[in-house]
């Protein structure tokens, strides 16, 4: 099961669509709108991979990554973000993220990231 | 660089420079060779700032970086920087600028290799025209404020400025200011007796004498015909009276030579008023009171100063 976290409805739609294209139509995907919802959903369902945006209200991606990794040290979190500054990527990695996809997400960058991490 | 045998590169009427991110010259087109008298082979691989030390290296490097990061052009604004490369201009029609005024565009030439390209466009003529236009406009505005004969201010300017002075005074604890109105005595007789040319000279003389007695913060205006008005800032009624009397005396003492043996003498009548509460925040009323005082001065024999209470 995959978890997609982004406050933008369109971004979630794009992530879902590309996931289906790369992984398969029948893949199970949950969605969350902010970091807090993401943490709660993660604790309930323990998804295989979590795709996380960074800039969100209530709780941002950096916090959410930290919380989730505290809960599950083996958590596989890939950041999908438009904010591609060195500092941001580093901060996300420090908090526990294992990969980074630069928006806009498409089949190529998604496939490439997943295979680099040995997840497909 | 293999660009230097390119026809467009060498015939276009603009300067073209290609630099790497450290600002070393990789290409320098014919236009530049001609205008700077520096051959491409002599400046190739050299840092452009070594040849032109007045170029702000920090700023140019930053612009280069911007252009390579955003992959979009950047501009050197003409408001702030007059030119990138100082090229002296010397033609008969150009009188304003000593150096070519340049319009500069910087763009990415090769993102991988981090090369940028700079276009230099000669904008001197346009700048000249703009400056002349601005100057002409300024002169027009000034002309609309002046009385053509005496070159002192006119009534229109007086109205505009008096409002500002009134506001200023009110914002600053009601610093006092006063108005003096002057009228040349029996002016019609002077005109009829000696002619209009002499009449004009009298008006000019009076204007000059009044101007000599005021400070730069004061306003002297010709209200038409033989009437003048002065606005004295930071001046109460007593001080205004003293100024008015000085002017009256100076005019009384002076004269204008008409023929070898004829001296025309003339005097003014003066009214003085200080802006106060009775004027209901309206300078026109102060002016009226000064006029009433002036009228009294005429009635009691002319060549007098009367104060409005």
């Amino acid at each position: 099961m995959y978890l997609v976290v982004d406050d933008s409805r369109m971004a979630r739609k794009m992530a879902v669509k590309n996931l289906k294209l790369v992984v398969g139509e029948n893949v199970e995907i949950s969605e969350a709108q902010d970091g807090l919802e993401a943490v709660n959903l993660y604790k309930e369902n323990k998804p295989t991979i979590c795709f996380m945006d960074l800039t969100m209200p209530v709780m941002d991606g950096f916090e959410a990554i930290k919380e989730i990794c505290l809960f599950d040290s083996e958590a596989k979190i890939i950041v999908i973000s438009a904010d591609i500054q060195e500092l941001s990527m580093q901060k996300a990695k420090d908090n526990g993220a294992i990969g980074f996809i630069k928006k806009p997400i498409n089949q190529n960058n998604l496939k490439s990231m997943l295979s680099t991490l040995g997840l497909i | 660089m293999q660009i230097n045998n390119n026809i467009i590169f060498n015939t276009v009427n603009n300067g073209i420079i290609i630099l790497d991110e450290d600002l070393n010259v990789l290409a320098w087109n014919k236009w530049l060779e001609i205008y700077t008298k520096i051959k491409e082979k002599d400046i190739l691989s050299k840092n452009i700032c070594k040849y032109f030390p007045y170029i702000n290296e920090k700023k140019l490097k930053r612009k280069a970086k911007t252009v390579l990061v955003t992959n979009n052009p950047s501009f050197l604004s003409l408001n702030t920087n007059r030119y990138l490369i100082n090229i002296p201009v010397s033609n008969i029609t150009n009188t304003i600028f000593e150096s070519m005024q340049q319009d500069i565009t910087i763009l990415p030439y090769d993102i991988e290799k981090k090369y940028i390209c700079i276009y230099i466009y000669d904008n001197t003529l346009m700048c000249e025209i703009n400056q002349k236009l601005e100057k002409a406009n300024e002169e027009l505005v000034d002309m609309s404020h002046r009385d053509p004969l005496t070159q002192i201010f006119n009534r229109r300017y007086f109205s505009e400025q008096s409002k500002k002075i009134k506001s200023f005074s009110q914002r600053n604890n009601n610093i006092p200011f006063s108005i003096i109105t002057l009228d040349i005595d029996k002016f019609k007789k002077i005109n009829d007796t000696y002619g209009h040319l002499v009449g004009d000279e009298v008006i000019i003389k009076v204007a000059h004498i009044i101007e000599a007695e005021v400070r730069t913060s004061d306003i002297v205006a010709r209200f038409g015909g033989e009437e003048f008005v002065m606005l004295l800032q930071d001046c109460n009624l007593d001080d205004a009276y003293k100024v008015a009397e000085k002017v009256r005396e100076d005019i009384e003492k002076t004269s204008i030579s008409v023929h070898i043996d004829t001296e025309v003498k003339f005097t003014v009548s003066i009214g003085v008023a200080q802006f106060s509460e009775v004027d209901n925040n309206n300078i026109e009323l102060t002016l009226s009171r000064a006029d009433e005082a002036l009228y009294k001065a005429k009635n009691i024999g002319r060549n007098k100063t009367v104060v409005s209470n």
Partner: protein, 205 residues
């Protein structure tokens, strides 16, 4: 008369996401150029008429501060104008971020830096937006003025921008106290083009 340029919910969401991506690119560009960490707030999108534009601008220039306003024309299918508004104090702080020492900072230097930021923001945002909807644009050199109130704005705004899409975002360097706003104004034809392009993008979703 119905405003042709009204964006529906889906189109707004789509534009919002495209702008998020564009602004991400802009932020990264700025931080790379000046070597500091920057944030651009999530852009706010509005479709308004010209009298609302005046009101909108009025709100931005509320306080007694002096403001610098720079504008840059955008040419192509997404033709319009980008306007960047920044107050005097933020401008000085911005100049410091560009590594200018206090005695180097004068009116001309500040204006130059604001023009640069405008250019960077413009190209990073409009430029990115254009590429995301598969079209090309070019920019004219930006211009800058210092103003005290909305009345100093050119009257032509009301005519040119009868139907506008305003995308406004804050450029924020919190610690350095720099706050500026970028507005992307589109003219009628470009608004229509944009709407179509968004619909296209949505269909391919």
């Amino acid at each position: 008369m119905k405003n042709l340029i009204e964006l529906n919910e889906d189109e707004k969401d789509c534009l919002q996401e495209l702008m998020n991506i564009s602004y991400g690119a802009a932020t990264a560009a700025i931080s790379e150029i000046i070597g500091k960490f920057a944030t651009l707030s999530i852009p706010n999108i509005d479709t308004i008429s010209s009298c609302d534009l005046r009101k909108h601008l009025n709100e931005k220039l509320l306080s007694k501060n002096k403001y610098y306003v720079s504008n840059q024309l955008v040419n192509g299918y997404l033709a319009g104008e980008n306007i960047f508004i920044i107050d005097e104090i933020s401008s000085i702080n911005l100049a410091r971020e560009f590594d200018l020492s206090d005695d180097e900072i004068d009116e001309n230097e500040i204006k130059d830096i604001i023009l640069e930021i405008t250019n960077i923001l413009s190209s990073a945002t409009s430029g990115k937006l254009a590429s995301l909807v598969d079209t090309s644009i070019s920019f004219s050199a930006p211009h800058i003025t210092k103003i005290n109130s909305i009345d100093e704005f050119d009257k032509r705004f009301e005519g040119e921008y009868s139907h506008v899409i305003i995308i406004s975002t804050e450029l924020n360097f919190k610690e350095q106290n720099i706050k500026g706003e970028l507005m992307i104004l589109t003219k009628k034809e470009s608004s229509i083009f944009l709407k179509k392009a968004l619909d296209n993008a949505l269909e391919n979703l």
